[in-house]
Symmetry: C2
């Protein structure tokens, strides 16, 4: 695996590879890698010749400075995980080379960045769109791979690529879970064992809500029960538990169950987790 | 000259050219071409192997529907002008292929799109950034050429390229003027001969203000005189006549004259013209 910290040499390397006819896949990450990330690397290796994993804790997508500060950073371990997973290129830039100066551009995605995560994390998706645009222009991948755990982010990136006509195919890769159902996340590293056990209730609640909806139960009743149950659990504080249309996250009324998705965000102690489930 | 109306075939054509080692220059226009545009074609031919001129009246950058409707469209004449100017490729897409669906993304450039043109044309620069992003991703040029008449647009595009790390070098090409000083513009086609003569006062006023500033006259006094003079002219209605820093159009206090620029927008009858002059 080749490691680049600078943009220039990475671009040169990929230009050569592209000239030789190799296709390029990009897996953008913020590091602290887990099995979820490795399944993205795997998907990229299946679809492309050269897999580039970027590892950059992007400051502009953190609305909460404490969250940015506490975000786990495990570069050495990440490097050996990527090496074992058969990743071809690791791109791990410094903040100063990704953000050379004070910047002015913000992205607005209309209602799509005002609901769910966007509502609780103002500015988050503008930061995501900014760093993803930068990475896309630096790496110029043919394919890019994102986890479905960050479902709204996947929708945002898909819009970005479609509307601005990037020459990139975006792939959403299914959530990987712990044995108790907890969705894999870098932030799980900050949970105690007891917290991890407790956090299993999120997946359990998503499954439970899904079954009850499929059995014809009205959503308002299901939602009320679930919210009560989660909030009764020690150390858990729910931000949202919503049903919406999977193709248009802004539509929450008269959701067609067959195209529905359940999405949730919840604090477990001081750690904010998200999860979702297609119906 | 090869003419493309569809995105797919254009991309294929340019991919081949790029593989053969040719560099690509893009001159984005809205058609109704004049000597100003041809100087952009000339600049591109000097700097690159293949010059692509795009011709697309971009609806999203018009805040005023009447302005969009009345914007001159002269495709046949434009084609022969480009042919004579030695342009290699004309890209003239339909609106439906540039905007395939209702779109949600808007760009915000902070103060830079709130002042001058941005103040009088809300949403204009978001539309510019959107269509320029699309064109950049479709054509993937090495160089792109923009007229300095649209000075604020040039600043917006430069920010877009720098911040989002497009692999493109942006060139600003000097204003071309009529014998009476009127800056060449597609909108001039909508002026009567009398209007064209009257509109000469804009360039005259810019020159006059520049001389007086260089002679040490205070800006507030110069600005007041100029505004009065223009507004006294029949059929002219000024929107703004401002002095600012040429590298940061949002700074209007304590402008360093050596790095200053004068910018103006004025209605001549129902036609809105803009012009500027570096000091």
């Amino acid at each position: 695996m080749q490691i680049f910290k600078e943009i220039g040499p990475l671009k040169l390397h990929l230009q050569h590879k592209r000239k030789e006819g190799f296709s390029v896949g990009l897996v953008p990450t913020m590091g602290a890698l887990h099995q979820g990330h490795l399944s993205l690397i795997h998907a990229s290796r299946q679809a492309t010749d050269i897999t580039v994993c970027s590892l950059f804790v992007n400051p502009t997508q953190f609305n909460n400075p404490a969250d940015l500060e506490k975000y786990p950073r495990t570069l050495e371990k990440d490097t050996s995980l990527l090496e074992s997973a058969g990743c071809d290129v690791l791109f791990a830039p410094e903040t100063a080379s990704m953000y050379e100066r004070a910047e002015v551009i913000h992205f607005d995605f209309g209602q799509l960045d005002k609901v769910l995560e966007g509502k609780f994390r103002p500015g988050h998706f503008s930061g995501v769109a900014t760093v993803v645009s930068k990475l896309f222009h630096i790496v110029e991948p043919d394919h890019a791979f994102f986890g479905q755990k960050d479902y709204q982010q996947l929708q945002i990136v898909t819009k970005l690529v479609e509307e601005l006509k990037f020459n990139i195919q975006v792939h959403g890769v299914p959530i990987i879970r712990e044995p108790n159902g907890l969705a894999m996340s870098s932030r799980n590293q900050r949970l105690s064992e007891a917290d991890k056990t407790r956090a299993g209730i999120l997946h359990e609640s998503l499954s439970d809500a899904r079954s009850r909806l499929l059995a014809g139960k009205p959503w308002t009743e299901v939602q009320k029960d679930i919210i009560e149950k989660i909030n009764k659990t020690q150390d858990l504080q729910l931000e949202y538990f919503e049903l919406t249309n999977r193709n248009d996250l802004t539509n929450t009324t008269n959701v067609d169950i067959k195209n529905g998705i359940l999405l949730t965000a919840c604090f477990v102690g001081s750690v904010r987790l998200i999860d979702n489930m297609l119906i």
